[in-house]
């Protein structure tokens, strides 16, 4: 019944009120709303990332000139490096958009009363791969950010104490592992659910 209702309502991005009504769980309804806000934010971040990357390339000569004289920095290469990193931020935003999209559909499946399905197992696997991709990108962007910050602000005690702070986030890798394990749990749950179908 719920599945039919949800199909009638469609997979619309704006189906929040109907889904929240069916969820009857503040945590899930709140997270569903947060995913919608987050997805919008990711689109904006991607646009800003691409825009600033292009802008950096357009004003590359000014940027190079402002960096002349900083130790260990090649002013000629810096605009390209910053530009590429801003593009990477845009790619991270796209990864985040798809991650939140899968999370949104996962929550919606609870509202539809069809949580233990093969679709959710596939979604969790995708979320695991997206988390891995985000971690690799974050290491690169964070590493560059840390390197740049240390070189431009050598007196900052925070960077001196923990120069890897921006580059490595162990909880992100753990999240990917948890998602892959959950995907396998859901896969087994889906096949158990299938066994129960037709039981009177």
């Amino acid at each position: 019944m719920y599945q039919e209702q949800s199909r009638a309502a469609g997979e619309s991005f704006f189906s929040f009120p109907a889904v929240a009504r069916r969820l009857r769980d503040p945590l899930l309804a709140g997270t569903y709303a947060a995913t919608l806000v987050g997805m919008t934010g990711m689109v904006l971040l991607a646009v800003i990332g691409v825009g600033t990357s292009l802008l950096m390339w357009l004003i590359r000569e000014k940027v190079s000139a402002s960096m002349a004289g900083i130790k260990y920095i090649d002013p000629a290469r810096m605009p390209f490096m910053i530009s590429m990193n801003l593009l990477e931020v845009a790619v991270m935003a796209v990864v985040g958009f798809f991650f939140l999209g899968h999370l949104r559909k996962l929550i919606k499946s609870v509202a539809d009363g069809d949580a233990f399905g093969q679709d959710n197992a596939r979604r969790l696997t995708w979320m695991g791969w997206l988390t891995l991709a985000a971690n690799v990108l974050a290491m690169n962007v964070g590493g560059f950010g840390t390197w740049f910050a240390v070189l431009t602000h050598p007196q900052n005690p925070e960077f001196a104490a923990n120069p890897q702070s921006l580059a490595f986030n162990p909880s992100g890798w753990l999240l990917a592992l948890v998602l892959f394990i959950l995907a396998r749990v859901f896969k087994q749950g889906a096949s158990m659910n299938l066994d129960l179908e037709g039981t009177v």
Binding site: L196, E197, G198, T199, V200
Partner: protein, 74 residues
């Protein structure tokens, strides 16, 4: 499926409709219909117990096994 559910027979014997039976036991009409038409893949002991109680029969009266080979030879 070689296991046959003889719900029709037992309902007729008790002079009862499927809707009346569904009302007496905690099973939906849709699920009883699945059972009646032989589309069910499994039956819970609780369901079997409720059916036997209301239809005043034994599980063996409700279910019977027909080998596919013997069915084909008939």
């Amino acid at each position: 499926m070689p296991v046959i559910v003889k719900l029709d027979e037992l309902l007729a014997r008790q002079n009862m409709t499927l809707t009346q039976l569904a009302g007496r036991i905690d099973i939906t009409l849709a699920n009883l219909s699945i059972l009646k038409t032989g589309k069910a893949r499994a039956i819970r002991f609780g369901t079997l117990e409720a059916l036997c109680r209301e239809l005043k029969c034994q599980p063996g009266d409700l279910l019977s096994f027909a080998d596919d080979d013997s069915k084909a030879s008939k």
